[in-house]
């Protein structure tokens, strides 16, 4: 399984904070995002532009590989400081 986390307004839009998603067939972040979005209408917020992603708590891109037991996060551009 892949542990998937959502933060800030994305978390509110999805109505979901975290979930475990089957890693079968998931090669990279793009695959994971597509598989999540395919679950239904309520996952459309994942298609918004400018979303940021992390794999195992490091910033990542859609092409980066994802493996079983990885921790993946999707979130809006950061606004701290």
């Amino acid at each position: 399984m892949i542990r998937v986390l959502f933060f800030a307004q994305l978390k509110e839009q999805l109505g979901c904070e975290q979930l475990d998603f089957p890693s079968a067939g998931i090669g990279n972040l793009a695959d994971l995002k597509a598989a999540l979005t395919a679950q239904g209408e309520q996952w459309q917020p994942l298609t918004q532009t400018n979303l940021m992603m992390a794999i195992n708590q490091e910033m990542a891109d859609l092409e980066d590989s994802v493996a079983d037991r990885d921790e993946v996060a999707f979130f809006p551009p950061v606004t701290g400081g």
Partner: protein
Amino acid sequence: MISVQTQDFSLAEEYQALTQGNQTDGAVVTFVGLVRDFNQGNQVLGLSLEHYPGMTEKALAKIVQQARAKWDLGRVRLIHRVGDLHLSEQIVFVGVSSKHRKDAFDAAEFIMDYLKNDAPFWKKELTDKGPVWVAFNDKDKAAKAQWTVTS
């Protein structure tokens, strides 16, 4: 010293930690970010700071490491608060000591510019029109970009 915390911090204590027993650094630059009353067109009453525990600390450590690789720095202290904050409360502290003032100024500004782009914090402002997630500011992207151009 890097800390992500709910409690407030004291500039005086941080300055003490930067300078005590430190005879080699002649320059100390500090930055404090505070909750201000007006942002992106809204009257702000306070804000709530969400973060990504675990990743936040790693991201901040990496930023400080990048600054140390670029400049000759003495001590560096970085604090970011999370949770609910009221108007005028302190949000973030950066303190840098160095032999020469330009290194301290550049590093402190660099750390803030990178933090604004790379550290997983999100601000939700409590405004007179209700709660509003703060939008990313393109000026912050430009501020980060300048460091790769001029280096």
